[in-house]
């Protein structure tokens, strides 16, 4: 073993109590950082998964229709127009096929699903419920919200004459798989209605969605909603969740259609997540700072206690650089020991936390995802902090005047 290792390890062994003190400090620091990070990341991922589970990341709709003043003021006259906002009728996105194809080619976009959706009624017997008719291509739409995973009865099949409805709507209508219900829409004053067979029931995790969402075939919706050959909406998923808004704005500027990202729809949630991120970062920063100060202060005392030995080593030919490295090495060694123990400790804390803290129904709050990257990063940061904390004491050790140190 080289000189630096021999001396650093022996000094650490000799000062067992101090060594234990800083290793414990570093362990707790690493454990808290990993614990908090995993906890917050897990909770956030879980929240986002729940919110976006039945939700496209970006929804493309036709640009809103606006009224424009038709009268131009004559010379010398002033016109005070009062422009009434137009009622927005259900329209198709202009050139939606071309737009969908373009979106599919756009980097950063995962799945694209054109849909036809509009208001209607579901009727069975005396029951009449207001619903949102959604006409989809099942294969394409499944890539957006994974409906096949959310089926609780029957299957997700929306061929001509089939309809898939939510659990709560089925209960309201008293309908089961195989029963027939009527769907009714209003087109230019005249009611259009037809009978469909319930092919399956789904549970989207939200009572409102289960009560109002009614899935039918793409063409069925086109005819029910009087949008022959049209698509009123394109649902899109993106690869980078938090890049959705930027992508939406970019696409809106390029295509002239209206792009709404989930970040805008759930702006409060996004704000809360950002606030949480900042808080977590601050907590981590302060924990790291405290650990660094702890290591540094113990090492400073250590250098003072070891003055004579440092002097002897210098007299025996140890260079300033060697002495400095001995103390840097001590910082690195306690940091590595601390991050190893801290990693184990944090895993234990997380397991215990997930056992103790549970949802109201007794299920786990979130799925524990122990990220190796986080552990490696925490260890690297710990070593860097250990070295930094040891830098000042190591410098002062290296600068000791050997003649003076020996005389003490």
């Amino acid at each position: 073993m080289p000189f630096e290792w021999v001396v650093a390890l022996r000094f650490l062994r000799e000062g067992r109590f101090q060594t234990a003190l800083i290793v414990v400090g570093a362990s707790v620091g690493v454990a808290v950082v990993i614990f908090i990070t995993t906890l917050v990341t897990g909770l956030q991922a879980n929240t986002i998964k729940r919110v976006l589970g039945a939700q496209a990341h970006i929804v493309v709709t036709p640009r809103q229709e606006v009224s424009r003043p038709q009268l131009a003021p004559a010379a010398g006259e002033t016109l005070l127009p009062r422009i009434e906002a137009r009622a927005q009728r259900l329209r198709s996105i202009d050139q939606w096929q071309a737009l969908a194809a373009e979106l599919e080619r756009t980097p950063g976009i995962g799945a694209v699903s054109p849909i036809v959706s509009g208001a209607g009624f579901a009727l069975r017997g005396d029951a009449s419920k207001a619903v949102n008719l959604i006409g989809v291509d099942p294969a394409r739409h499944d890539r957006i919200i994974h409906l096949t995973d959310k089926m609780i009865a029957g299957r997700f099949a929306v061929q001509a004459g089939d309809v898939v409805i939510g659990r709560d709507l089925a209960a309201d209508l008293g309908a089961a798989v195989g029963d027939r219900i009527r769907l009714q829409t209003a087109q230019q004053g005249a009611a259009v209605s037809d009978a469909y067979t319930v092919a399956g029931l789904f549970d989207l995790g939200s009572r409102a969605a289960n009560r109002t969402s009614v899935f039918v075939g793409f063409r069925t919706a086109q005819s029910l909603l009087d949008l022959p050959g049209g698509a009123s909406e394109i649902d899109v998923t993106v690869d980078r969740l938090f890049g959705a808004e930027a992508l939406a704005q970019d696409l809106a500027a390029r295509t002239g259609q209206s792009f709404d990202s989930w970040m805008k729809t759930f702006d409060q949630l996004v704000a809360a997540i950002h606030a949480q991120d900042i808080t977590t970062a601050l907590i981590r920063l302060f924990v790291i700072l405290i650990v660094a100060l702890g290591i540094a202060s113990v090492l400073v005392v250590w250098v003072v206690q070891k003055r004579r030995e440092i002097g002897i080593l210098r007299a025996m030919g140890a260079s300033r650089g060697k002495i400095q490295r001995v103390f840097l090495l001590q910082g690195a060694i306690v940091a590595i020991a601390g991050s190893t123990i801290g990693s184990l400790l944090s895993s234990l804390m997380l397991f215990v936390f997930l056992k103790v803290a549970r949802n109201a129904d007794g299920s786990q709050i979130f799925d524990l995802d122990l990220s190796p990257t986080l552990y490696v990063t925490a260890a690297l940061v710990a070593v860097a902090v250990g070295l930094l904390a040891a830098a000042v004491p190591a410098r002062s050790a290296a600068r000791l005047d050997p003649a003076q140190a020996i005389r003490m």
Binding site: R13, M316, G317
Partner: protein, 244 residues
Amino acid sequence: MDGPLLELDAIRKSYGTGTEVETRVLHGIDLSIRAGEFTALVGPSGSGKTTLLNLIGLLEPPTSGSYRLLGRETAALPEQEITLLRASSIGFVFQFHHLLPAFTAVENVLMPGLIARGPVTAVDRRRAQALLADVGLADRVDFLPRKLSGGQQQRVAIARALSLAPPLVLADEPTGNLDTHSADDIFALMRRFNEQAGTAFLIVTHDPRLARRCDRIVQLVDGLIAGDRTNEAIATAADSTMAR
């Protein structure tokens, strides 16, 4: 070797230079020591003995004057070179043993080699054990310093100073806190290495009895050399003591 082992020329040393409390310790020392010389450095407290020893040991630089060690002018050498020169040419024995308390006797002896040459080999270890056996500590090799008596600790310190076979060993009152019997033993040990290996010794001592057994006595008074005598008769007497 041609020429002296070390040569001091008009060496002055002051502390706190430029401040109001400037303390002049050495006022122009001219001293030359040949290879293999066994020299006592004597003088009252505060005469600058330890400072002179530190200067010779390259532990601190002189304020002015020239110091050549093994023919090299040391004033111009950078820190790194000084450290290397010290490691290769000088062994230290301090008054209070100054062993490393966390390391065993043999590890203390191995330390200069570990510093200068890197990781310890089995050969190094055997050599260090032989050296400890040579100073009469064959059965104390793996003892920590605190388990050894004062005399034994000083023997380890001598073995350590000799571990890289330097041409010069500097000893600052090596027998200062030992009883007469132990002091005699330590002195005899140093004398033996001097004669066997030709190692030069410069020994600071308060004990006139021991000083009289050296080849040469340099007397320091108030930062100046007040006396420097060589006596073959003294050396011969010391030899006969050794031969017993």
